[in-house]
């Protein structure tokens, strides 16, 4: 249509210069912006692989399963297993806590809370995300760590001590303390997204559910949650991404051990925390190995993202089926 208008010589002559260059300029600039985003990703991946190359050559794929990190210049044996394990364990525990917590907060804020409570509580939850991670880590060292060591961990140990992950001596620094810190970081992110999603649930559906005699709990369970499932999954993955990538606060509380430890109370490490605490002061093979950890972290993040997309797409289709069958049954 545009092209048609321009091909008319009379109309074309009437247009001034800015009108005429507007279209190509828009196309050029937005194309450049898109290209820049792609270029940055390509550049980062190239640079990380380039930096990690000596370690990739030296350790190969076995790097992933080597349970050791010995920077002593006379030994120089590096492996990713302790940090891969730490990343998986801490972020999974964090999501296990944060997802239900966030969904509960969102349900309260969208369905249950009185109007004058909603805004302030929502703002406060959002503000949790604004706390600098270094401050959160410091709080972890000074307050949370000792509390975990003196109260939570002994309680867990006395009830569930026969399970290896709850065995061992309580410690202020370790996987569990880091996981709790990550929970606090992931919760506001998941909450703010799920809250938005819950607010998009059409009022008609809710009204219809009430009209059919559903209690509030039944309405939430049968309408709000199924309708929002893809959004909830997306929000959870977003929180998981935050937990996997967090470096500073984790480095402050996890205790920087270079081995896999079965007990959650024990000190350990994560990919991001290890890179953050050692990269600046590293050289040679150690630097390359840290870059290798970075590459693994990158791949890890991509995998999580892809899984999230698959779940969201599948979940979306399934939801329609479910609501339709439920509607039919009703």
């Amino acid at each position: 249509m545009e092209a048609g208008a321009l091909s008319n010589p009379v109309l074309r002559a009437r247009r001034n210069l800015t009108d005429r260059i507007g279209d190509p300029l828009l196309r050029g600039l937005s194309g450049l912006a898109a290209a820049l985003a792609v270029a940055v990703i390509v550049g980062i991946v190239y640079e990380v692989i380039h930096l990690a190359w000596p370690a990739i050559q030296r350790f190969g794929i076995g790097f992933l399963t080597t349970n050791d990190w010995n920077p002593n210049p006379l030994v120089q044996r590096f492996g990713a297993a302790p940090f891969l394990y730490g990343t998986v364990v801490t972020s999974l525990i964090a999501i296990l806590f944060a997802a239900p917590l966030s969904i509960a907060i969102s349900i309260y804020l969208t369905e249950l809370a009185p109007e004058r409570v909603r805004r302030p509580v929502a703002t406060l939850v959002d503000m949790l995300a604004a706390i600098p991670t270094v401050i959160l880590g410091l709080w972890g060292i000074l307050v949370l760590g000792p509390f975990m060591r003196d109260t939570i961990e002994p309680a867990l140990n006395s009830v569930l001590g026969f399970v290896p992950i709850f065995g061992g001596d309580p410690s202020a620094f370790g996987y569990l303390t880091a996981a709790v810190i990550l929970t606090i970081m992931a919760t506001p992110i998941i909450t703010s997204v799920t809250r938005e999603v819950f607010e998009t649930v059409p009022g008609d559906l809710k009204e219809a559910s009430y009209a059919l005699g559903a209690t509030r709990w039944e309405m939430v369970r049968q309408v709000v949650l199924p309708y929002s499932r893809p959004g909830i999954v997306g929000a959870t993955i977003l929180g998981l991404g935050r937990a996997i990538g967090e470096a500073i606060a984790v480095a402050q509380v996890i205790g920087g051990a270079y081995l896999i430890n079965a007990s959650l109370f024990h000190t350990g490490g994560t990919l991001a925390a290890q890179i953050a605490s050692q990269f600046q002061n590293s050289a040679g093979l150690q630097k390359a190995s840290l870059a290798y950890l970075g590459l693994i972290l990158l791949v890890f993040a991509v995998i999580v993202n892809v899984i999230a997309r698959v779940i969201v797409q599948r979940g979306g289709i399934k939801d329609i089926d479910v609501t339709e069958t439920e509607a039919a049954a009703l």
Partner: protein, 354 residues
């Protein structure tokens, strides 16, 4: 559609190449330097231990010679890395270069290291119910950090502290999880007194301790010690002196338990006259005649390429650092360099640019 995608990808590729080209050209220009002028600035990077002294030197040296020195306290490993790739004019490291590191750094022309500051590393502990200034020996410290001595009422500790009431609290060793000159000094000392420690852990700015809790930087270590009953760790002398940490007295080879401080570190340095190849000096093995010498003392080094366009500036700066600059040491808890080390340093400086 596919044509448009191709266009975006091509543009992306062009941009990537452009960025890469920029990166390489800028590092080229910085390594070739601006050269010539009498007062081109010096750029260095490395050791965090020497950083407080360095900031004094920077302002004082700039006012005396009109040469500005830029320093990035990025850690010893980073300093070695940057001087190896010649992205800086000098590197600073708390640990002397290993043979392998020398080989890598020499690949672009020879480098040399010169000791230019002297300090100590101090253990610190937090045990409720234990007396202040517990006495510990190197063997006991090694046993603790190897995980062999696990409670504070261990007979080995009791033997050094007759009559002291020691609780049965579990010992939690605290170490630096980032690279540190203090870790180097501490492991160097423990390796010299304990063959088991030497073979199991070794000497480096970063090692793998078999047990304990890792914390970042001096303040992280201090916080971890403060928060954990039964903890023992190590911090830099300057940090220990200004903090309220409880410091044990460590036995030296003369069988004394000297207080950590500038005087005892100076005594340790005075007792060692042997300067190794590459100006490497270890203060870990002190002679039994070294009275009042602090056993965990350490030198920190500057690393310079012999071929540099800023040879004159570099010579002036290092000469200043090891002579006049030493006078700022004591107020920052650095001990002044002994005469023989200054002499060796001056000799080494003449090789720069020749």
């Amino acid at each position: 559609m596919s044509k448009r995608l191709l266009g975006v990808l091509l543009a992306a590729l062009a941009l990537t190449l452009g960025v890469a080209a920029c990166g390489s050209s800028s590092s080229d220009s910085s390594s070739s330097g601006s050269g010539g002028g009498a007062s081109s600035p010096l750029v260095g990077a490395g050791s965090t231990l020497v950083a407080p002294l360095m900031s004094k030197w920077q302002s004082d040296f700039a006012s005396k010679s009109e040469i500005t020195v830029t320093y990035g306290a990025i850690g010893s490993g980073g300093g070695i890395d940057q001087i190896t790739s010649r992205t800086v004019d000098f590197g600073a490291s708390d640990a002397p270069l290993t043979e392998e590191q020398f080989e890598e750094a020499n690949a672009q022309g020879e480098v040399e290291q010169i000791p230019w500051a002297l300090s100590g590393t101090v253990p610190a502990y937090n045990v409720s119910g234990a007396p202040k200034n517990l006495k510990l020996s190197g063997e006991v410290l090694a046993g603790i950090f190897l995980g062999e001595i696990t409670s504070w009422d261990d007979p080995a500790i009791a033997k050094l502290n007759p009559g002291a009431s020691l609780p049965s609290t579990k010992i939690t060793p605290v170490y630096r999880s980032d690279g540190s000159g203090d870790t180097y000094a501490f492991t160097n000392y423990l390796s010299s007194v304990s063959p088991a420690f030497k073979s199991k852990v070794g000497v480096s700015t970063q090692v793998k301790f078999p047990t304990g809790v890792g914390a970042e930087k001096n303040d992280g270590v201090a916080a971890a010690i403060g928060q954990t009953d039964g903890a023992i760790g190590y911090v830099g002398l300057a940090y220990a002196v200004s903090s309220e940490l409880n410091m044990p007295l460590v036995e030296n080879s003369a069988g004394e338990f000297p207080e950590p401080g500038v005087e005892s570190v100076e005594a340790a340095a005075a007792a060692v006259s042997k300067i190794g190849p590459n100006n490497e000096i270890s203060l870990a093995e002190l002679p039994a005649s070294a009275k009042g010498a602090y056993p965990i003392s350490t030198y920190t080094y500057v690393i310079v390429p012999l071929e540099t366009e800023k040879a004159e500036e570099m010579k002036k700066f290092i000469t200043y650092a090891i002579t006049e600059g030493q006078s700022y040491g004591p107020e920052l808890d650095f001990a002044p360099l002994p005469k023989q080390v200054v002499a060796a340093g001056k000799k080494a400086i003449t090789k720069i640019g020749s």
